[in-house]
Amino acid sequence: MIYADYAAATPLDPMVSEQMLPYLTEYFYNPSALYPQARQVHGAVERARGQAADLIGAPAERIIFTSGGTEGDNLAVLGTALHAGQHKRHLITSSIEHHALLETCVWLEQRGFRVTRLPVDSRGIVDPHDLQAAMTEDTFLVSIMWVNNELGTIQDIPELARIAHAGGAWFHTDAVQAVTTQEIDVEAAGIDLLTLSSHKFYGPKGAGALYVREGVPLCPMQHGGQQEHQLRGGTENVPALIGMGAAAQRLKERAEAMRADMKRWKTRIIQELAVVDGIRIDSPPECSADSILHLSFYGIEAEGMLFWLARAGIQVSMGSACNSLSVEPSHVVRAIGLSEEWARGGIRLSLGCGLTDEKVGELIKGLKETARRLRSADGLTNE
């Protein structure tokens, strides 16, 4: 099996599951209880908080634990929008954000907020001038994802944050796909809110974090408990949070080697596929993360590619995993202006720790053979 869908989910690092196990069995206590055993669990949760914070250069006390990226995005946008002391009504985002962000913005629009969705160029990059032009006195938040989950496009986060601040707005970034390939320092980049999700960096599903800079007003979306300084009530998912902390620590330890591998593999895939007629590279290496590569196959339905690749033991996705129940080209692919014949044939490869040089070779071979098979079945000639 060749798994190339790491942007959807990453396998649990064995060291991480080892750290989680005691909290699934022996140390089952509620961290809010007062007896020593529970306090021990509470201490472990706080250590995990520190580990997650360390990954992004943040103070531990500025981390709110969540259930993942979707909750983090929701909390960042709704928590700032609906804070009692916040009276502005305009926010800015990009047209290629994850649905967690876009749907939250739609929800706010239905309640009287205004949302500007910035266009992107053919590489998926937001022009800072467009952001500058969109800022108004009524703008309270700019939210632009650091690395796009379908294309891998990297945005100029420090510059976009600077423009947001100059215009009197907070800056949020969904860094869910950024953390494995980008050096993240929330202070240096000027970020006010940042979303993380554990299962994208070899931690368990069901755990995430939202960084909130001191001074950013945020109201809770989930009420009912004292946890997370009353910003996210509810008994913590202790094993998952322990796992996330351990995964964050592991990522810091091995990031350099991992990034070198991904860069080498992506370079090789691009070199070997870019010369094949009818294949388009939508993630140029100079502006996209080494973990994600979006390819378009002219005149071929992406689902056909996925089906036959899966039969060959190769696992990739079309669009994003969260959106894979539709055969229509995604909003991201539409936003970069691909024609219909290219857009319908878009698939996403995402790279990670379980790959090897040999598996990448098999992946490339599988992609070429599947495309050739589908073209000859369709009677297609290459463009």
Partner: protein, 96 residues
Amino acid sequence: MKKVLIAGGLCGTTMLVAADKIEARCAAAGVTVAVTIQNLWETSYVRPGYDLIIEMFPYFEDVQCPVISGKPFINHVGEKELLGSIAGLLCMEASA
């Protein structure tokens, strides 16, 4: 009655709509059809006995009946011509 299979994957709604269009077009040509829809991700076994198979992505290789691409139902390019071809094929089958 002619038996038609539409085989595809995630495009369930598209296949349902295609089934309706095929039934209507064939009825207009005097041919009664029973259309079955199958998601190949769930099961790739296909019962024998179909008069025509419409595949939403290339899948079938060694089958006894005609197989045609249902891509026009997805991208709506040449859909009318495809419906005509389907009715024509089944009419030929019916009168053979």
